[in-house]
């Protein structure tokens, strides 16, 4: 009775693995997000570059897992790649915003107030 239960459980688990779909959309989204992060210059900002690299590594992992038939795991790893890419993009945007704010502040300071000509 017990052994039957166990085998049934294992069989069920195996079946569950086999019927999980290939996370094609998730992998496509992650790929697009990585490209987006690269386009806003994430590679040039240290913290953003770190997360960009993580995203790229995890995307590779996810693709390898798909080839191994581990679709469910691939789905999660692709999701991790996605959020790392999004974080890289956000950090790159922050660096750009700070740079613009700094540039504006310097412009304001370098402008002497104009005296009225007499």
């Amino acid at each position: 009775m017990l052994i039957k239960t166990i085998s049934l459980g294992v069989a069920f688990a195996l079946a569950a693995c086999a019927s999980y779909p290939v996370p094609a959309e998730r992998i496509a989204n992650a790929t697009a997000s990585i490209r987006g992060a690269q386009e806003v210059g994430a590679a040039g900002q240290p913290q953003a570059a770190l997360h960009l690299k993580l995203a790229q590594q995890q995307l590779q992992q996810a693709k390898a897992m798909v080839e191994d038939g581990k679709n469910e795991r691939a789905d999660y790893v692709a999701m991790r790649a996605q959020v790392d890419a999004e974080l890289a993009l956000a950090m790159a945007r922050e660096a750009a915003s700070r740079a613009r704010a700094e540039q504006f502040a310097q412009q304001q300071m370098s402008q002497q107030p104009q005296p009225i000509m007499r």
Binding site: Y76, L87, S97, A101
Partner: protein, 297 residues
């Protein structure tokens, strides 16, 4: 008995993970969320913060159900990243908002400065225009005064100033230096006109004779006549330190002394109105700088 124990053991095994320590990813995710929730994200981008919160709750649920499983770690990792994204986006929006406000303030300041500069220039322009008008008015009055003088004698603009020439026989009897009665009425007009001319001008009264008679006689006569005219002008409102009298005798003829007409023309009094030397603003007519001396001919 053994089967029950085994089943219980299996049950215990399958639920045992639930009481395990949370994985590092979950601990990190929790603190990441707390950081994000206490930052600007709550105000700036609450939607993204909410997504992060739901992610974390899903990870917590998985941890409750499955314990420290791979799925728990994956969900926790994702939740942690989402919290960081919310935090960073909050900062970005704060920076952008402050920058927009600073730019708006700078634009307003520039507009205000431009406005006050324009107003300043307008005021200066008004003052300059008023000054120009005042000067033109003074010049006009001077011109009017001098044209009135022209009815009494002739007026000529010369290098030494504006010269009003009055024939000697209008003012004096032959050989005398006392002003004739009718002459006084005319001279009072002259005095009145001269007071309207620029107050800084110097007035020089010059007496001239023809060549008849001795030099010394003519010198004395012309000096006395000049002084008579001067005294009259001063008594009729001209400041005494403004008016000077000089006798030129027969030294400066303007016509031929061999004809009667020429001699009549030489017998004259000249009233010279000199423009002020240093002060540039004048209602006087002459544009040459006066050195105070009359050029000798």
């Amino acid at each position: 008995m053994f089967r029950t124990a085994l089943s219980l053991g299996l049950v215990a095994f399958s639920f045992g993970c639930a009481s395990a320590q949370p994985p590092r990813e979950l601990i990190d995710a929790r603190s990441a969320y707390n950081r994000a929730a206490s930052g600007t994200a709550a105000q700036m981008n609450p939607a993204q913060l909410h997504v992060a919160q739901q992610s974390l709750q899903s990870a917590e649920k998985t941890f409750e159900d499955d314990g420290d499983s791979i799925e728990t770690r994956d969900r926790a990792y994702i939740a942690g990243r989402r919290a960081e994204i919310a935090e960073v986006q909050g900062r970005v929006m704060t920076i952008e908002r402050q920058l927009a406000q600073s730019q708006k303030n700078a634009t307003t300041r520039n507009a205000q400065e431009l406005q006050s500069t324009k107003q300043e220039l307008a005021t200066q322009e008004q003052r300059a225009a008023a000054e120009r008008a005042r000067r033109m008015e003074a010049e006009k009055r001077a011109e009017q005064a001098l044209s009135e003088l022209g009815r009494i004698g002739s007026i000529k603009r010369e290098e030494r100033g504006m010269v009003v020439t009055i024939p000697g026989n209008v003012l004096f009897a032959s050989g005398k230096a006392e002003l004739l009665g009718p002459a006084q009425a005319k001279l009072s007009q002259v005095a009145e006109a001269l007071t309207r001319v620029d107050k800084d001008s110097r007035i020089t009264v010059l007496g001239h004779t023809d060549s008849q008679g001795s030099d010394s006689f003519n010198q004395t006569l012309s000096q006395n006549r000049a002084e008579s005219v001067r005294a009259f002008l001063v008594s009729h409102g001209m400041a005494s330190d403004r008016v000077e009298a000089r006798g030129m005798g027969e030294s400066q003829p303007v016509a031929d002394n061999n004809t009667a007409e020429g001699r009549a023309n030489n017998r004259r009094v000249e009233i010279v109105v000199e423009p002020p030397s240093a002060n540039g603003s004048t209602g006087g007519p002459s544009t040459t700088q006066s050195t105070g001396t009359t050029p000798s001919r």
